[in-house]
């Protein structure tokens, strides 16, 4: 039965150690041979060559693409427009065609072929600029990134290419951020964008099972959810709260199926993080000084924004309801807490004064910290423990600095945090050690 190989670094070190172990009589020649075969240690140098070649191909493709893009700046007006168009189309089609042939048809140089297909997509982006230049068109410069992204994801789906899909996500992010950010504040003009991003990129995550793509897509959605809900406040916290609910629910639903389980831990991490960020900023009283009623919020939001917001909220809530059906108790508690955070962040500002909202946010944050600590002990996971510790310290220090307290109080708080951190860390490590002994 073939198992996934460990890292190249481990295998290199093992290859160095095997002769030493054999010479010391700890391993027989047959055992050395078996280990060499099991970990494919003889293939290390060939793999290193392939890796280097792939890196060279990618770097050279990017450099060539930059060269082509730079070529846009040098006007080649003496050549007739027809020939210019034929040349740029020809280069793009040649890259795509040659790449596909080498990769999928002849299969002699799969990495080079794949890289050429990626190069074709990069040239496509340059061509958008070139065509615009040839026809003296200059619209919003960020709009070309959406067109480039659509072209890239089409190729990504066609040949199951993660680099093309990753490029598509990054380009879509540039389009969204460039088009909406104005004085460091997102507007709601692209409230349709998160749903488009979900429709375009999430299916590919299932198809490719790529964690890189999962990370990029979650990051893209987190950033662009700001544009969904028209918010007077600078930080658009409702977008984060909605993202938290959506991501956590997605992670919980994915946990129920073997083929989608790879999504869970990342989606949960993102969900908890953005929900915590949203709650953290809500815990400051100053964040709520410009509260307006529900009616005035409704009037200030456009119908289209409300529609898109409604659709996203329905998606998030539906996924959340489904996720609660079959999950363990602790995950269910997290799901309920994140849903409460979403409801609170979205609606409390219409019904409660600032101090009450801040107090509620602090309570929710405390509950989050408790759940995180509980999860760290249940799953015996250091990362969750330290996340809980970081959040707890952040909460304590923020409250201490936000409210008027004397220097002595501040000093006591900081010392208590430091001591608590040390004691907590040591106790947790002892717990982990005892659990390890128990398992053995």
């Amino acid at each position: 039965m073939s198992a996934k190989l460990p890292s190249a670094r481990f295998r290199r070190q093992l290859k160095e150690q095997l002769p030493i172990l054999e010479s010391e009589g700890l391993l027989s020649p047959q055992q050395t041979q078996s280990l060499t075969g099991r970990y494919r240690l003889d293939a290390l140098s060939a793999e290193a060559t392939h890796f280097l070649l792939m890196a060279i191909y990618i770097i050279s493709s990017v450099l060539i693409a930059i060269g082509v893009i730079s070529f846009v700046a040098a006007h080649w007006r003496d050549i007739p427009a027809n020939i210019k168009l034929a040349a740029i189309f020809g280069i793009m089609l040649a890259a795509h065609g040659t790449g596909f042939y080498l990769w999928q048809i002849r299969q002699s140089h799969p990495r080079l072929g794949h890289t050429l297909v990626l190069l074709g997509t990069l040239i496509f982006g340059a061509n958008i600029g070139l065509v615009a230049q040839i026809f003296h068109i200059r619209g919003n410069p960020f709009d070309m990134f959406l067109a480039w992204s659509i072209g890239a994801i089409a190729v990504g789906y066609a040949v199951r290419s993660v680099p093309n899909a990753a490029a598509a996500v990054i380009l879509a992010g540039i389009y969204a951020v460039g088009n909406t950010i104005d004085n460091f504040r997102f507007s709601s003009e692209l409230s349709w964008f998160p749903l488009l991003a979900i429709a375009l990129f999430v299916p590919f995550i299932y198809v490719s099972r790529s964690k890189v793509l999962l990370w990029l897509t979650l990051l893209l959605l987190t950033i662009t959810m700001h544009g969904v809900i028209n918010d007077e406040r600078e930080w658009a916290l409702q977008g984060f709260a909605l993202s938290g609910l959506l991501f956590f629910s997605w992670g919980t639903v994915s946990q129920n199926f073997e083929s989608t389980r790879f999504i869970s831990s990342t989606a949960w991490a993102f969900g908890v993080t953005v929900a915590s960020i949203s709650t953290y900023f809500c815990s400051f009283k100053l964040m709520h000084h410009n509260e307006s009623g529900f009616d005035s919020w409704l009037q200030s939001s456009s119908t289209t924004t409300l529609c898109w917001m409604g659709m996203l909220s329905v998606l998030a809530v539906s996924l959340w309801v489904v996720s609660l059906i079959r999950c363990d108790r602790l995950i269910r508690l997290f799901g309920i807490l994140i849903a409460i955070i979403f409801a609170a962040v979205v609606s409390l500002r219409w019904f409660m004064p600032a101090y009450a909202i801040a107090f509620t946010a602090n309570v929710l944050l405390l509950l989050m910290i408790v759940l995180l600590f509980s999860a760290s002990f249940t799953y015996e996971d250091r990362r969750i423990f330290w996340a809980a510790v970081a959040l707890a310290i952040l909460l304590i220090v923020s409250r201490t600095l936000e409210y008027e307290t004397g220097l002595m109080v501040k000093a006591a708080v900081f010392v208590a945090c430091g001591v608590g951190l040390m004691v907590g860390g040591v106790l947790f490590e002892r717990f982990l050690k005892s659990r390890r002994t128990l398992h053995e």
Binding site: R77, Q104, V131, I137, R138, G139, I150
Partner: protein, 175 residues
């Protein structure tokens, strides 16, 4: 041809289609549009990605009055339909401006579509890419003929416009 090849060909065709759609409106305007002349007042910046280009500001970019629905606040980048009429020296000037396509337009007038951007209207013909070798001569002409610069444009029946040539003093720069 296997399935993957078919999908790949379709994806590349999509990329090609996007490239064709980029200039589609301008090409349609150039092929089917009516040629008119408008007054310009250009400014000359440098853009790294797109090379040297002249930003053209037209007299028709500034609208005296826009007919719009009562109490409707014009947001940035919304569409506006400007009716032009021929004035002295065959220069076309603004007759009126509307939120939607005007119901009746005389045969001696033409409708051009623009995007309202704060204090001016953009028609997609504001940029003229300048060859590197000709930059200094164009700059010199622009400086000496700021009030004597016109542009010949074509406007199709949908209001799309395409820049055909730039006239700076006695010099003509064809697109």
């Amino acid at each position: 041809m296997n399935k993957k090849a078919i999908w790949f060909v379709l994806a590349v065709l999509l990329q090609t289609l996007i490239l064709i759609l980029v200039p589609a409106r301008q090409v349609h305007a150039r092929l089917t549009g009516k040629e008119i002349t408008v007054k310009t007042a250009p400014v000359d910046p440098y853009d790294f990605l797109s090379g040297y280009h002249v930003i053209l500001s037209y007299d028709i970019s500034r609208l005296p009055v826009i007919e719009r629905e009562p109490s409707e606040e014009k947001p940035r980048l919304s569409t506006v339909y400007v009716v032009l009429r021929q004035d002295v020296d065959n220069i076309w000037v603004v007759d009126s401006a509307h939120n939607r396509w005007p119901d009746e337009v005389g045969a001696d007038k033409i409708v051009i579509k623009g995007r309202y951007d704060r204090w001016r209207v953009l028609y997609g013909i504001e940029h003229y890419f300048v060859p590197e070798g000709k930059r200094s001569s164009i700059e010199h002409d622009l400086r000496n003929n700021r009030s004597d610069t016109c542009a010949d444009i074509k406007v199709d029946r949908f209001g799309n416009a395409a820049l055909i040539r730039l006239r700076i003093g006695d010099t003509v720069y064809e697109y």
